[in-house]
């Protein structure tokens, strides 16, 4: 075999592999991808159960007095939540009455499903979570995911008993948002994730009369447009706005909640019609 051909042999073989891969039907690729994911899922899930067990044993070391204090604090919290639930029921009744009178379309109903975080995958390229529930709990792609601080992200893939969530800090997430107290929508996109710093995103199409700075932040919330996220959920704080190059709008930066990076449990809002 000529020496020159022998040197090119690895690249010719590579070319054949690339060509073969390009003609593989999408169905087979999709099936293979799901198979490979399910192959890795038990590893992540087992590790998350091991972490939960470790946490359980560390909690067992707490003294009785600490538990009594925690129980007392929890009882107070429950009392205030009971009151909030009563008010919520009253307000939902009021909304239903107004919708009936004005013949407005009703908001999408959601079922809340809590899920443990199995794996965090926060690279500069993407920001994702894997959670420990999936098709077995009727999760659907696109479902909003929230926590006590606001929006976490949305479900991007659903597997047999796990699901992946694209975080709002990920550049793959784009949604309509409004500044609290305003109704004009703007576009939010994640993607600013500095090392050792807070995650963030950018906003575009901000009306010219909205001002914000690091010292005078504005709360950015979901607009409800698009029908994926319910309105009013916190996205983050607008820390900077400046006129964009076209002069018609402003663009700016949003700082996200620092707790997003250390979440252990999230809530998936499963649309009721998909259930």
């Amino acid at each position: 075999m000529p020496k020159r051909f022998d040197q090119a042999r690895p690249f010719l073989t590579l070319g054949l592999v690339v060509a073969a891969w390009l003609i593989v039907p999408t169905v087979i690729k999709t099936f293979t991808r799901a198979s490979f994911f399910e192959l890795t899922a038990p590893v992540s899930v087992a590790a998350s159960y091991a972490r939960d067990l470790k946490e359980y044993w560390s909690l067992r070391l707490r003294s009785n007095s600490e538990l009594i204090e925690a129980g007392r604090d929890l009882a107070r919290l429950n009392a205030s939540y009971d009151l909030a639930v009563q008010q919520n029921v009253e307000m939902q009744g009021e909304i239903a009455r107004l919708e009936a009178i004005l013949r407005l379309p009703s908001y999408t109903g959601y079922r809340s499903e809590h899920a443990r975080v199995v794996r965090r995958d926060f690279s500069g390229w993407w920001q994702r979570l894997t959670i420990r529930k999936g098709k077995n709990f009727n999760f659907t792609v696109g479902s909003p995911v929230v926590f006590s601080g606001g929006v976490v992200g949305r479900v991007s893939e659903v597997f047999a008993y796990t699901a992946t969530v694209d975080l709002i800090s990920s550049q793959t997430v784009r949604l309509a948002a409004v500044v609290e107290g305003d109704i004009r929508p703007m576009s939010y996109q994640g993607g600013l994730n500095p090392t050792f710093g807070s995650a963030g995103g950018v906003i575009e199409f901000v009306p010219l009369d909205i001002f914000a700075s690091a010292n005078a932040t504005k709360r950015l919330v979901t607009s409800g447009l698009g029908g994926v996220f319910p309105p009013g959920l916190t996205i983050g704080s607008v820390i900077k706005v400046e006129p964009s190059t076209d002069g018609l709008f402003k663009s700016g930066e949003v700082k996200l909640d620092d707790r997003l990076a250390a979440l252990t449990e999230v809530t998936v809002l499963v649309p009721l019609e998909s259930y």
Binding site: Q7, P10, A34, F37, G124, W126, Q189, P194, A261
Partner: protein, 169 residues
């Protein structure tokens, strides 16, 4: 086939270890990518077809858990394999230190090429590079630390199949 399976299982182990490491590093917004480790030993010691397939399927494992077109990692791993295979007769490849150095260069190339494929999706690509360089530095340090252990595991596993331990060790 058995050698291929062992390399694939070792890649699965590598993925599991780095996944747990990345889970722990997430609050500091650091990320470790050591994909080149899955390619280095097959490229340096295996026949072309077996090694290329092992690298390709290892890449598919990384693809399955990443939001990229299925096959992106696999094709990049296969490309890295072909490059390393091409010059393996011209570099020292029998001692661990040279394997680690080759893995470091391969990882550098993989990381940068992969970053270029992903950076266009960012709303602020310029602000992404400092983070990527920090991740790259972290990845290279981690790779240098775990590579001897990983190569030893691969060599021991392969030695179970054949009596030519010296070939991989």
């Amino acid at each position: 086939m058995l050698r291929f399976s062992l390399i694939f299982l070792s890649t699965l182990l590598l993925w599991a270890v780095t996944a747990q490491l990345n889970h722990a590093l997430a609050p500091w917004r650091l990320y470790v990518f050591v994909g080149a480790l899955a390619v280095t030993l097959p490229a340096l010691t295996f026949p072309l077809k077996t090694g290329l397939l092992a690298s390709f399927f290892g890449g598919l494992l990384f693809d399955a858990v990443a939001p990229v077109s299925f096959g992106t990692h696999a094709l990049l791993f296969a490309l890295t394999h072909a490059v390393v295979f091409n010059f393996r007769d011209r570099v020292p490849r029998d001692d661990t230190l040279s394997r680690v150095v080759i893995a470091l260069f391969a990882n550098l190339g993989l990381f940068l090429i992969f970053s270029f494929t992903q950076v266009a999706r960012s709303p602020a690509p310029a602000s992404l590079w400092p983070r990527l360089f920090a991740d790259l530095a972290c990845s290279q340090i981690c790779l240098a630390l775990i590579a001897p252990w990983f190569f030893a595991i691969q060599a021991r596993a392969l030695a179970l199949l054949a009596d030519d331990t010296h070939r991989y060790a």
